[in-house]
Amino acid sequence: MDELLLSKVRLGVVAELLNYDWVTFSELARSLDVSNGNLGAHMSKLVEADYVEEDKSFVNRRPLTRYRLTKRGRDAFATHVSQLQSLLKAAT
């Protein structure tokens, strides 16, 4: 199992990014219903592991951070979900 994706929030982030090119930090926090601080810590780990790519910019002098899934993150997600399904199958 991928240790990084055992966290429900991090797995949720990767699932949120799966169908999208870029998603903003605020949209992820809203969609997953987590606090900015909590999400920030999880995002740092995903960026460090090169599962997601971070893009920081300024729009109307306000910081805008957005993320997208890397190939490594996409592959890790596919493997992890497949392992979860195998675990479920073995349990039933």
């Binding site: 199992m1 055992l6 797995l11 699932a15 169908n19 090119d21 903003t24 979860l84 479920l88």
Partner: protein, 192 residues
Amino acid sequence: MERIDAVQARDHIEMVERILAQTQPRLCAGGEFFVVWGVASAFVTVIAKLVSQGILAGIWLWTIPIVLCAGALFSIVRGRQLRKTVTRTSLVQREFFNVLWLTLGLAFIVNVAVYNIFSGIAAAAIWSVAEAIVLLNIGMHGNRRAQVAGVLVVASLVAANFASTGVNAYVLAAGMLAGYGGFGLSELLARD
């Protein structure tokens, strides 16, 4: 090392399925591009026709590059604005814009470089075909308004083909305006 049991695994898979079901990407969020290019292409077609008929002086042809440049400038600036402000940019949308720019780029090259090979309104017809390709491509992804608009543009091409040389350009322009511009307008009105 963290462990996960079957109950947690089920919970995680259900969350993933719920998120994937909720995040089905919506194609086409940029109605304004269609309005601008629908109006610009119709304008170019009508101006070229009026000049060729002698109704307008040749100097009016200078408005064509100005309008095309203004449309291109708007598209670039608005595209950059949207990239910075939209909260989600879907992969499908990225693919769609790739097709859009490729198709319009090819049409523009044909228009500029192959204009003199054809006679009559071939250049305008090429633009119309390009617009139909874009609309029908969106339509293929399930957008019913784009399907109707694409059929409208194709119908205007067929109608223009059989219309007299005096009116064929206007028929094409009507298709561009109603099909391409109309679709953009309907997208803008439907935007939530």
